[in-house]
Amino acid sequence: MTINTLAKGGWHREQMTCFQKMEKVIVAMQDPDMGMKMRNQRLLITVIPHAMTGHDIITWLIQKYSICEEEALHLGGMLLKYGYIYPLKEPRSIVLHPDETPYRFQTPYFWTSTRWPASELDYAIYLAKKNIRKQGELMEYEKERYSVLHKRINHTWDFVVMQAREQLRASKQRRKADRIVLECQEQAYWLINRPPPGVGNVLDMGLERPNNFSLRVTLIETCRRALGRNRVKSSICLEGFVKYSEQYQNHDPIMQGCLPSNPWISDDTAHWTMNAEMVPTPTRLRVECWSFSFMELLKDVMGRKEFMTYLEKEFSGENLCFWQACEDIRHGESSKIAEKVEEVYKNFLAPGAARWVNIDSKTMDKTLEGIKRPHRFVMDDAQMHIYFLMKKDSYPRYLKSDLYKNMLAKAIIPQETKKSVFPFMRRQRHSSPSPAQAAAQATEEDGRGKGAGPAGTNSDV
C-alpha cells in the first residue's frame, strides 16, 4: 500500500466520533483478560489463528453491555458493516450470523478510520494485483472499474503495475497462512470501501459541514449576560416536569390510548371527527384540558369561544378581543401592521373608545408613544398586561363558573370501540378534504356570500 497523504477535505467530524467508539468496542473485545476467546479456524487446508464464531461475538456483547440478543446482533452487525470484523468463509456476505460462522478482527492497518478516504491509487494497485495473480479472477464490476481507473489515472499506470508486482513478490515470501490472512484482510477492506453495485455504501456520510468562524468577543458578552440571570432551584424545576407528565398522562395516546380508538390502528377516523375544531359537544378530555393552563384554553378555538361567552356575561369581553387583535398584529403580514394598529387604537385604546381596555397609565403612555411609529411588537406590553389580567382574574373564576361546569358535565366520553372479531376485515380508509380545499372554499363562498346562494355543505375534517 502506498502512504496516504493528508486526505482532501480532512475528517468528517461525525465519523471520528462513531469510529472512535466502535474502535473502543473492538479493543475491549480483544482484551486479553475480559475479551473474547479466540480459536483456530480451519480454512480448506490451512489453519487460521485468532478467529471467533458469530455466536461468541453475540454472547460477549450481551454480557458486556447487558443488552438483549436483538440489540447485540444489531451492534455486531454494525461492526461488520464498517469493516472492523470480517467473515472468513464467505467474504461477500457481510452479515452477522448467530451461529458457528467464523469471523476475524480486521487489522488496524486496514481500519476504515486509519486510511480515510480510500485512495484511487490503492484501489488500482489492488485490482492490478488481482489481475496479475490470476487471469480472470476479477469480477465483472471490478473489470469495469479497472478499465475506468486505467483511463483516469493513466499517467501513473506504470507505477501502479510496478507496485502491484512488487507487492505480489513480497507476499510470495511470506508463510502461506500469513499470506492468506493478508489477502482476506485486504479483500474485506475493499468490499467495504468499494462495495459491489447494488450493495449500499455504508460510508456515505451525507453532506460535509465545513464551516467554522471564531467569534470570541460575542462569546464574552453572552457569558457576562448569563452570569446575571435569575435561576430557579433544581428541585422546583424538576418537580415541575414530574407534575406535567402526571397531569397530561391521560391525554397522551401513547400512555393511555385514545377513545374511541386510535385511527392509525383501527382505520376509523371517529377520534378525529370527535375532536375537530368546532363540534356541537366536545369530549371530556378536551374540556378538562382547558383547566390545566390559560394557554390551553386560549389555544383551543372552542375554549376561546366559551371563554368569550363568559367574559361577555361579565362585561369584560373587550379584553379577549384586544388580546386577539394584538396576536393578529404580531403574527400577521408586515404590510398590514400600520392599519391594524390604527384599528386597535380606535377600538380599544383611544379615550372614549367603544371597547376600551383598562391598562395602567405607564403602559398606556408607552404604547401610545409607540403607536406613532407602529411596528410588529408595539402592542406587546399592553397585550401582556391584559393577558395576565385575564389569567389571574377572569380565568380562575371561569373555571369555577356554572358555564364551565355545565360544559364539563355534558362533555362526551367516547365508548371504546371493541376490537374487531375478524381482524382480517379491514375498514376502508376514507380520505378527508385537504385544509387547502377548505380554505379555498371559504374564500369562494365569501366572494359570493352577499348574493343568495345555496348554503355550503359542512365538510368535516
Binding site: 462513531c18 436483538e70 444489531h74 471564531s214 468577543v217 433544581s234 428541585s235 403580514e333 385537504s434
Partner: protein
C-alpha cells in the same frame, strides 16, 4: 479577498480555531500569537479594544465560563432521576408500523405533520417535496426543487402551504393548489436567503412568518408576504443544524443547535442570544422543546441525547448507553413529555424515559439512517423518515406495570 501566499515558519494548531495549519507568527502588543490565515483575516476585521490582547480575551473567556458553571451549580440541589424515583415505571411498549410511505427515490431528509393530524410533508435528496395523506397513503402534491438535498421542510399552520429549502441556500414557500392541472412548484415564492445551505425551517404561529436556520451559522425571521428580513440571529460559530420554536405563553423564543456543540436560545424580538448551553461533545443534530416549553432536548453525534432545563439554566439529564455508539440525529417528545424518541445513525429509534433517564425500548425497521422522528399533533402516532427512502408511521402503546 484571496489567500496570500506567505512563508510559514511554523505548522501546528491555530491559537484561535485550533485546526492544524500553516501559521502566521505575529505580535500584538508584544504578545506573540500564531494564527492560521483565515483567523488572521477575521481578527483584522473585528479589531480589538484598547488594552485587549488576544491572550487576555482568551483568559477572560475561560474565567467567565468557569464562573458560569459555578453559578449554575449553586442551585443544583437534586437530580432528575432522584425526583423521579417516586414515579411509576413505564412498562413494555407495543410498537407497530402502521404505514410505510414509499415514493422518494433517494434519502428522505426531513418531514413535518400538518395540523389536521393526518397529512404530512416530506423532502428528500432527490430534490422532491411530497405532501401525503398519511392515513390513506395518497400522494396529494409532488413538487420538484431546483437543487437536490432539500434538507428542510415545514407545513404551514393553516395547512395551505409548505416551506422547503436546502442546497439552494433559499427557503421557499409553496401554496398548495388543488387544481391538478396547476404545477404547484410554479407558484413557489422565495422567502429566506442565506449564504449557505438551509438546515431547518418552521413557520411561527401563523402562515405569515418563517424562521430559518442555515449552514452559514445564522438564523433569521422572515416576513413571508414581502420576503423581508425581520430579524437575524448571530452567535453560532459553525453551521446550525436544527431549530425549534418554543410553545410558551409569550411565544417569543426559539432554540438552535449546531456544529459548534452549542444549543442557543434566542429572543425573536431583540435578536439576542438569551441562553447558551455547551455540554455536548460533538455536533448537535437536532433540538426540540419539551411540551411545556420549560426545557428542551438535543440529539448529537456524540451518541447522546441531553435534556436542558431553561429555568434552572443547566443540563439535567444525559440519555446514553455504552452499547449505543452511533450519533443521534433527531429527537421528539411524546405528548405528556414522559417519553423521548430518538433516531440514530445506526438505523434504530430508541425510546427513553425522560424522568428516569433509562431506555425503555428500541425500534428496528429502517434500513438506513433515521433522519427525522416527529410525533403527530395529537400524539396518536410517530412518523420516522429515513435514508432508506421511506417514511413510516408507527403506533406506540404503553402498558404500565401492575
Amino acid at each position: 479577498m484571496c489567500d496570500q501566499t506567505f512563508v510559514a515558519a511554523t505548522f501546528g494548531p491555530c491559537d484561535s480555531c485550533g485546526t492544524a495549519s500553516p501559521l502566521m507568527n505575529i505580535y500584538i502588543k508584544n504578545e506573540p500569537i500564531n494564527y492560521c490565515s483565515f483567523c488572521m483575516e477575521v481578527m483584522a476585521c473585528q479589531g480589538l479594544q484598547k488594552g485587549e490582547t488576544l491572550a487576555t480575551l482568551k483568559k477572560e473567556c475561560e474565567s467567565l465560563k468557569k464562573k458560569l458553571e459555578e453559578d449554575r451549580g449553586k442551585l443544583n440541589d437534586v437530580e432528575l432521576h432522584q425526583v423521579a424515583e417516586k414515579v411509576e415505571v413505564v412498562g413494555a411498549l407495543s410498537i407497530k408500523t402502521r404505514r410505510v410511505l414509499k415514493g422518494h427515490t433517494n434519502k428522505v431528509l426531513c418531514m413535518d405533520w400538518c395540523k389536521d393530524k393526518r397529512r404530512l410533508v416530506s423532502s428528500s435528496q432527490d430534490g422532491k417535496v411530497i405532501v401525503w395523506d398519511g392515513f390513506t397513503l395518497n400522494k396529494e402534491h409532488g413538487m420538484s426543487m431546483p437543487t437536490t438535498w432539500v434538507m428542510a421542510c415545514a407545513y404551514a399552520p393553516s395547512g395551505c402551504a409548505v416551506a422547503c429549502g436546502g442546497l439552494d441556500n433559499k427557503c421557499s414557500v409553496i401554496p398548495l393548489s388543488l387544481d391538478s392541472n396547476e404545477n404547484c412548484a410554479a407558484k413557489k415564492k422565495t422567502v429566506a436567503m442565506h449564504t449557505n445551505y438551509i438546515s431547518g425551517c418552521t413557520f411561527t404561529n401563523s402562515d405569515m412568518q418563517l424562521l430559518s436556520c442555515s449552514g452559514d451559522g445564522t438564523s433569521a425571521l422572515w416576513d413571508v408576504e414581502s420576503g423581508q428580513l425581520l430579524q437575524s440571529f448571530h452567535g453560532h460559530t459553525s453551521d446550525i443544524l436544527s431549530l425549534d420554536l418554543a410553545p410558551s405563553e409569550t411565544g417569543n423564543t426559539f432554540v438552535t443547535g449546531g456544529c459548534d456543540k452549542k444549543a442557543n436560545v434566542w429572543d425573536m424580538r431583540s435578536g439576542q442570544n438569551i441562553q447558551s448551553f455547551e455540554c455536548h461533545e460533538s455536533d448537535i443534530n437536532c433540538v426540540k422543546y419539551y411540551p411545556s416549553g420549560d426545557a428542551f432536548a438535543s440529539a448529537s453525534d456524540d451518541a447522546t441525547c441531553r435534556f436542558f432545563d431553561l429555568r434552572a439554566d443547566r443540563e439535567v439529564a444525559v440519555f446514553q448507553k455504552d452499547s449505543i455508539v452511533f450519533g443521534a440525529s433527531t429527537v421528539d417528545f411524546s405528548l405528556s413529555g414522559r417519553l423521548l424518541f430518538a433516531g440514530y445513525n445506526d438505523y434504530t429509534i430508541n425510546v427513553w424515559d425522560v424522568l428516569k433517564g433509562t431506555r425503555i425500548s428500541m425500534m428496528f425497521g429502517h434500513e438506513n439512517r433515521v433522519s427525522r422522528v416527529r410525533l403527530s399533533p395529537d400524539g396518536t402516532a410517530l412518523c420516522s423518515a429515513s435514508w432508506d427512502n421511506t417514511l413510516r408511521v408507527i403506533d406506540i402503546f404503553c402498558c404500565f406495570q401492575a
